[in-house]
Amino acid sequence: MLKKVTGLLMAIVMVVVLAACGGGNDDKASSNSPSASSPASNSAEPSKEAPAEKVTLKIIHWINEPVNKYYEEFNKKFTERYPNITVDYQVVPSDATYDQLQQTRINANDTDLLALKSGFAPIPQEWAAGAQDPLWKQWIDTGLIADLSNEEFVKSYNPVDVQNSTTYNGKVYGINMGKVAFSGLYYNKKIFADNNLKVPTTWDEFKGVVDALKAKDVTPLGFAGKDIWPYNLAVQGLSASVIKDQGEFIKGLWTGSTKFTDANALEVLEKAQYLLQNSIDGVMGIDYASLPSLFASGKVAMIADGTWNAPTLKGLDPTLEFGYFPIPGSNDAAQNGSLAGKYDMSWMVLEKSKNKDAALKWLAMQSEPENYAAFAKASGFLPTQNVQVEDPFINEISPYLANFKLAWDQLFINRQNAGEHVSGSSVHAEFLSPAGPIKTPKELAELSQKEWDAAK
């Protein structure tokens, strides 16, 4: 109590000081402020009480039902092995809610482990000078993330994957839990069979499938437009198959040798618009959480989603027969033949965590091969440990995974404060009619290029 009162008094003093600064006394303030009130210097104080026997390990994660269930089970086993550690495992929706939780928790040093939505991407490049650093890099650079390089459990993972997913400046700062592909479409096998349709391997074949479905009054496509990113997965699929070398293209955007208005970038937008034109009514109002039931209900023949959602689809209706194929953006079947994706979630330990030890124990136990295999099975991820997961769905798509490549949002490095038509990490085809206000791909491309050039 006393502590709180003193804290309160200190706050009053600080407010008075701040208020004085606000009054226009800027030079005075700048001379004493950096040390006095840098947001971190106090909040990062070591824990108030001496560490007791009992500790609570705080973990934040997002909603993904099969994975959440796995972790609830795993956490129980963990507590059995370490009875003094209670696990506080919190999940929130995977949209901006999670980003925000990450922000506030890191800011208040109020979690021990946190899940990053991907591996370390995009990798900062020399040619992209002045780009905004990705969050993970900012965190690492300010010393918030624990260095795991010397932990024994890192060795359980494939060295290549560790290198490509969570290594930065030669040090390992996280554990990546697996790869996912998301540049494909789920298709309803029953609807395809009823209409004598084959999985398309070229853009023309794809258009044939769409036309055939429409002729039978079946809505060809469904997207979770409300959240936008799920629709953008399909756009990334188009991009991965239309633009031969996305890395070169992005570098070119920075150096000026390529533009958003180039023929191949325009082609991506045109085809993205085609997808919108052939999707279910009200597509931009569908939440990501209701996409699986839309697909399972048979109202649409195909949806865009990542391979991570296969367990959810299976769980929703075990009799549902579905498959997955890469979006054939080009007319070259070979170019279309492989899926693009990313390293999915990675666990990171906070350096200033009050329970760093417990966090490391948790990660070590998670990394034990049988636990990891159970995770991979539950999540539908492509493993980053050398374990075999017998999963019919993964087996079926394995031919598409031979030349696994990184998708656009893992490669694209953005400029700071970019306008909304180039903001974030995706190609914003959702602005095209009928979903959005922009009539033609050309207009959108020109606007994007304009905003790109204007961004500093």
Binding site: N42, S43, I63, P93, S293
Partner: protein, 273 residues
């Protein structure tokens, strides 16, 4: 005044009813959905429910963990509403009576809170510095204040209450606190009821505050629980409907009790800014 023609009367009824429908339909729809099974809802989303299924509520109650959240909400709402009302009264009385120096200035100072810049950033920083982040008492303290709408209403109302009582009390040697509790509070009851209602609504329904200042799942209020529940059970509308009704329930009960004071309270509040 009494010469309202039949035609005018029926138009009046017609408009009032038409608007009433815009208000009742969403609420009825909500109830309708909550009484269905999921399959019933999928088959005919806008059809009437077949039978009452109050068991949906207990399912939603369990799955949404509402029993945990509702205590938090009650704690935050009751404590900070009572404190806020008390503080408002403490602030309003001397200012309305001009028993303190610079009453007008202080009044102006308090009303400035209505349009001062959004204090979100420094507030968040301050909360972190004070160790109030993710603390229940911290959130309650943040939600407690004596300068909100209740304060304005009290000042307006107390100005209209005769001073003679004050003087009588002073002669009696009645203590300040005793005076406030024994004489003033019964006098300001209608405004107080309205103030309680409006303050409670604000705290109970606050969704941004808990998102920012409370991170522990165990500390979340019921609105936050509902929001997460909504994201998680988008497939299951009947459960969602139940969840929404559960959250709305307690305030509706409070509302039924306080409703009759509302207009007289609002009258006091609208006296003067």
């Amino acid at each position: 005044m009494n010469r309202e023609s039949r035609w005018l009367l029926s138009t009046r009824y017609l408009i009032v009813l038409a608007v009433l429908i815009i208000y009742l339909i969403p609420l009825f729809y909500l109830f309708n959905v909550s009484m269905k099974t999921q399959i019933e809802h999928l088959k005919s989303p806008v059809g009437l429910f077949e039978q009452f299924r109050f068991s949906n509520f207990s399912t939603a109650w369990k799955q949404g963990d509402f029993s945990k959240y509702i205590w938090n909400s009650l704690l935050y709402t009751v404590v900070s509403t009572l404190l806020s009302i008390l503080l408002s009264l403490f602030a309003a009385f001397p200012i309305a009576r001009r028993y303190v120096k610079f009453s007008n200035l202080i009044y102006l100072f308090f009303t400035m809170s209505l349009f001062l810049p959004n204090p979100l950033v420094p507030q968040f920083w301050l909360v972190n510095e004070l160790g109030m982040y993710n603390e229940q008492w911290g959130y309650i303290l943040l939600r407690t204040g004596g300068t909100g709408i209740a304060f304005l209403m009290f000042v307006g109302y107390i100005k209209s209450v005769s001073r003679e009582l004050d003087e009588a009390a002073a002669i009696d040697g009645c203590g300040y606190l005793r005076y406030i509790f024994q004489i003033l509070i019964p006098l300001v009851k209608p405004v107080m009821a309205t103030g309680v209602m409006l303050t409670a609504i604000g705290v109970w329904n606050d969704i941004i505050g808990p998102t920012i200042y409370l991170s522990d799942n165990d500390y979340q209020p019921i609105t936050r629980g509902l929001f997460a529940f909504y994201g998680q059970y988008l497939n299951n509308w009947p459960l969602l409907g139940c969840g929404i009704i559960i959250v709305a329930g307690p305030l509706i009960v409070l509302y039924v009790f306080i409703q009759r004071f509302l207009v007289s309270g609002a009258l006091a509040g609208s006296v003067k800014i």
